[in-house]
Amino acid sequence: MLTAFLVFFPLAAALLLHFAKGSAARALALGASFLELAVAVFAAFAFVRNGPAGFDLNLNWIPSAGINFHLGIDGLSLCLVLLTTVLVPIILATAFRHEEYENPGAFYALVLFMQTGLLGVFTAMDAFVFYFFWEVALIPIYFLAGAWSRHERRIQITFKFFLYTIIGSLFMLAGFVYLYLQTSPMAGSLAAHSSDIQAIYAAGKQLAASEQSWLFWLIFAAFAVKMPIFPFHTWQPDTYTESPAPATMLLSGIMLKMGIYGCLRWLLPVVPLGVSQWQQLVMVLAIIGIIYGAIIAIRQRDMKRLIAYSSLSHVGLMIAGVFSLKAIGLQGAVVQMLAHGVNVVGMFLVADAIERRTGTRDLADLGGLTRRTPLLSVCFLVMLLSTVALPLTGGFVGEFLLLAGVYEFNMWAGAIAGLTIIFSAVYLLSMYQRAMLGPDSAYSDTITDLTGAELGMFVPLIVLVFWLGLFPGTFLHLSEPTISSILTAVGR
C-alpha cells in the first residue's frame, strides 16, 4: 500500500495542480513533495523494522499475458526512492526561483509526473512495469527540457535526446520480449508466460551463452544511452547545458541513476553469461568515458557544460564499479549514486544561482564573486569538494569503494580510473577559481548573496554530503542484501 502511495501520489498531485494557480500551485507542489518525502522516510523506518515483505504490491494487470503490476521495495530500491524524494522538493524550489517560466503550474506538474515515473522505475518488479515507467519518465522530461528552454537550438537538442533514449529503450523492450517468451508462467496463472522479475531471471539464466551475448546489448542499449556511457553520450552535454536548471537537475541527479540501477537490477542478474562476456569491453568504454569527459571538462568555459562533462566522467567510474562485479564496487556504485545525485544537483544549483544573478555562465565573464557572496562560496565549495571526493564527504566514500572494486578487477584499470579524482580536482578547482576568486569582474560588486530560501535548499544537500561521508553504513546496510543476491546470480 505504501509503495502504491509513493508511486502514484505525485501523479495525483500533478493532476490536482491543474486546478491551482500562482502561489497556490507552488504551495501545492511543494507540499506534495514534502509529504512524499515524509512518507518515504516513514517507509524507510518501516523497512528497517519489518523488512521488505510489507512493500510488495502484486496486482493483475494484463492477466491474459501473465503481466502483473508488481511493485516492491528492497534495500537498493529504497536508497533510490529516498534520493528521488529528497531531491524533488529541491528541484521544485529551484523552479520557483525562475519567475520567467511561462505556465509554471504545468512545469511543477510535469516535475511531479516525472517523480511518479522515476519511483515506478525504482520499484518495478516486473519487466513490463519497469519498461512502462522507464518510458513514462521520458515524456515529462522531454517537455521540461524543451518547452521551457530559451535556447534557439532547443528543438534539435531535445529531439536528439528523445530519439536516442527511445531507440535505446526499444532495444531493451525487444530484449525483454524475447526473454518473456522464454519464461514459464507463474503458479496459478492462465497465461503462457510471465514477465515477473523472478521469471525473467530464471528464463535468462537457462539461455545459452551465445544468446545471452546479444541479449546483453539489447538490454544494455537503453541503460548505456540513459547513463550515458561513451560513445552513446553525444546527446548529453547539449541537453544538460541548454535545459532549464530544474530539468538538468532531474536529468543528472536522478534520471541518470535509472541507467545504473537498471544495470544492477535488470542486466547483471538477467544475462550473467552475457555480462561476463562483455565485461571487459564495457570496462574499457567506461574508462575511456572517465578520461574523455574529464579532458573535455578542463577546456570548458560554460559552467553548466563543464558540470555536464564532469558528470560524464563520474558516471564512467560508476559503470566501471558496477562492471567490476566485485561486492565493494557494486556497493560503491550505490553510495556514489546517492552522493553523485546530491553533488550534481548542488553544483547545478550553484550554477543556476550564479546565472540568475549575473545572466551568464561563462567563466571568462565571471570572477571575484566571493567577496560579496560568502554563503554561496561556502556552499559551492562543499559541493565541489564532495564532487572531487575529499575525505569526509559522500563523494569520497563512493569513489573510494568504486576504485577499490575496479582495482580488484584489474590493477591498471584501477590506476587509470583513479585519474578521475585528479582530473576532477583540476577542472573543478579551476572553475571555482575562475568564477569565485581571481580578478574582479563586472559582477563582483553587484552580486547578492544567497537568500534564506536558497540557503534552505543547500542545507539538506550539505547535510547529506556529510552524512554520506561520515555514516555511509546507513545506506550500505540497506543495499547489502540486494547486492549480494545480485552477485550470487552473476555467479561471483
Binding site: G146, F162, A174, V177, L181
Partner: protein, 474 residues
C-alpha cells in the same frame, strides 16, 4: 443481424429528414441512432446472435455469422463513427445542404463494414466491401467545388473499381477450384482437394483476393492512391476512411485467412510477409518526409496497415487466438488515436486554412486542450507507453515473435523508431514553436467537441494504462 437492419432503416429515415431542411436535428439523430445500434450490437456478446437475430433463418446464417469476433469489430467501427460525428458540426454551422446525404452514406457504409466483419460467404464479403466503398467514393468527392476533392474521388473510384475487379476475379477462381463460397466448406475443400489439377487455379485466386483486399486496406505496393485520396478528401471523411475502412478491412482479411484459407498459407503467407515489409518501409519513410500533417497522417495510416499485416502473419488457429486479439486491440487503439488526431487537425485547419505542421505551431499556448489531445494521439500512434498504441504494438509484436518471425519484428521495431521521429513533429510544432503571424487567435471549439476530444484522450490513456480489461476479450 439487427444492427444491419437498424442502420439501413435509420439511414433511409435520415434521408427523409433531409427533406425537412432541419440540419440541426440531423446530428443528434445520427448520434442517437449510432448509440442505439452500438448498444444493440453489444447485446449479442457471448450469445452468438441469438438475441438480435430476429430475422435469422438458416439461409441467412449461411451468409452472415454473428459471433464475438463480429460483435467486437462491429463495436469498434460503430464506436469510431460515434466519436467522429461531433466533428461534423462545422457542416451544420455552415448550413451544408447535403448533410443528410452525408450522414446517410456514413450509416450505409457502416452496414457494409458490419457485413465485412461478419460474413460467412464470399459474396457477402464482396457485397460488404462494395457497400462500404461506394459510399466512400461519394464522400471523398463531397467537397464538390474543390478540385482536390474531385481528384480524390475519381482516383479512389478508378483504382478501387479496378481492385474490386481483381477481388471478384479471385473469388471466381477460388469458387471454380473448390465449388463453394462458404468459408468453412472452403477450408475443407482446400484441405482435401477433389481435383489436384485445379490447385494452381485456387492459388491464383487466393493471390488475387489478397491483392484485392490489400488495396482496400492500403497495403504496399497497392497503397499509391492513399496519400492523394486522403489529402484531397475532406478531413472529416478522411478520418472515417482511415479508421472504419481499415478496421473492417483487416477484420475481413483476418477472417478470410484464418477461417477459409489456412490450407493455402503456402501462397498467402510469403505474400503477406512481403507486403508487410514493403508497407512498413514505404509508409514510414513516406511519412517521415512530409511537411503536411494531413499527408503525414495518410502515410502513417499506410504504416499502420503494415503493423496490422504483421498481425495477420501471427494469425494461425482460431478467431479467438492471440492474432485476433492483437488486431482487435490495435485497431481500437489506432482508431481512437486517429480520430483524435484528425479531429484536432480538422478544427485547426477549418480556422487557419492550412494543414501543415506550421499551422499547428503555437497551439499549446492558444489551445492547451487541443495540443494535449493531439500529443496523446501522436504518442499513441507512435507506440509510446501510457497510451493504447503501445500495447497494440506490444501485442502484435509478441504474437509475431511467438510465430518465430524475429527478424520481421526487429524490422518493425526499427520502423517504429522512424515513426517516433515524425509523430514528434506535430508535438514540437505545438509546444516549441511560436504561432505563425496571423494565427495567434485561439481555435474556436464548442463544448461538445471539447468533451469528445477529452473522451478520446481518456480512452487512449485507459487503453494504455489498463489494457487488461480488453486484452483477454476475444
Amino acid at each position: 443481424m439487427l444492427p444491419i437492419v437498424l442502420l439501413s432503416v435509420f439511414g433511409i429515415i435520415n434521408l427523409f429528414l433531409g427533406f425537412m431542411r432541419s440540419n440541426r436535428a440531423l446530428l443528434p439523430f445520427a448520434l442517437v441512432v449510432l448509440a442505439l445500434v452500438f448498444g444493440v450490437n453489444l447485446l449479442d456478446w457471448n450469445h452468438a446472435g441469438s438475441i438480435t437475430g430476429l430475422f435469422d433463418s438458416p439461409y441467412v446464417a449461411q451468409m452472415l455469422t454473428v459471433d464475438n469476433y463480429s460483435v467486437a469489430f462491429s463495436g469498434i467501427v460503430l464506436l469510431t463513427t460515434l466519436v467522429l460525428l461531433p466533428f461534423s458540426r462545422s457542416y451544420v454551422a455552415a448550413g451544408e445542404p447535403n448533410l443528410a446525404e452525408y450522414y446517410s452514406l456514413l450509416l450505409f457504409s457502416l452496414v457494409g463494414a458490419i457485413m465485412m466483419v461478419s460474413y460467412n460467404h464470399l459474396i457477402m464479403l464482396f457485397v460488404g466491401i462494395e457497400i462500404l466503398s461506394i459510399s466512400m467514393y461519394c464522400l471523398a468527392g463531397s467537397d464538390k467545388r474543390n478540385v482536390r476533392s474531385n481528384e480524390a474521388a475519381l482516383k479512389y473510384f478508378l483504382q478501387g473499381a479496378f481492385a474490386t475487379g481483381i477481388l471478384l476475379f479471385g473469388i471466381a477462381l477460388v469458387y471454380g477450384a473448390t465449388g463453394t463460397f462458404q468459408l468453412n466448406e472452403l477450408a475443407a475443400a482446400i484441405a482435401t482437394p477433389a481435383n489436384a489439377s485445379l490447385q494452381s487455379m485456387l492459388y491464383v485466386g487466393v493471390l488475387m483476393m489478397v491483392i484485392g483486399i490489400g488495396f482496400k486496406v492500403s497495403a504496399a505496393p497497392f497503397h499509391f492512391w492513399t496519400p492523394d485520396v486522403y489529402e484531397g478528401t475532406p478531413t472529416f471523411f478522411t478520418a472515417f476512411m482511415s479508421t472504419v475502412v481499415k478496421t473492417a478491412g483487416f477484420a475481413a482479411f483476418l477472417k478470410l485467412l484464418l477461417v477459409a484459407l489456412p490450407g493455402a498459407s503456402a501462397v498467402w503467407l510469403p505474400t503477406i510477409v512481403a507486403m508487410a515489409v514493403l508497407t512498413l518501409l514505404l509508409g514510414n519513410v513516406g511519412a517521415a518526409v512530409q511537411t503536411s500533417a494531413k499527408r503525414m497522417l495518410a502515410y502513417s495510416s499506410v504504416s499502420h496497415a503494415g503493423y496490422l499485416l504483421l498481425g495477420l502473419i501471427a494469425g494461425r488457429g482460431q478467431l479467438s487466438g492471440p492474432a485476433a486479439q492483437a488486431i482487435f486491440f490495435y485497431s481500437l487503439a489506432y482508431s481512437v488515436a486517429t480520430v483524435a488526431a484528425f479531429g484536432v487537425l480538422k478544427l485547426v485547419s477549418d480556422q487557419r486554412q492550412r494543414e501543415d505542421y506550421a499551422g499547428l505551431a503555437g497551439l499549446a499556448r492558444t489551445n492547451p486542450l487541443l495540443a494535449f489531445v493531439m500529443t496523446v494521439a501522436m504518442l499513441s500512434l507512435g507506440g509510446i507507453p501510457l497510451t493504447g498504441g503501445f500495447f497494440g504494438k506490444f501485442f502484435i509484436f509478441t504474437a509475431v515473435v511467438a510465430q518465430g518471425y524475429i527478424w520481421l519484428v526487429v524490422f518493425a521495431v526499427l520502423m517504429s523508431m522512424v515513426g517516433i521521429y515524425y509523430y514528434l513533429k506535430p508535438v514540437i510544432a505545438m509546444y516549441m514553436r511560436p504561432a505563425e503571424p496571423g494565427n495567434e487567435a485561439p481555435i474556436v471549439v464548442d463544448g461538445f467537441q471539447s468533451a469528445t476530444l477529452v473522451l478520446l484522450a481518456i480512452m487512449t490513456l485507459v487503453l494504455g494504462i489498463l489494457p487488461g480489461f480488453l486484452s483477454g476479450l476475444l
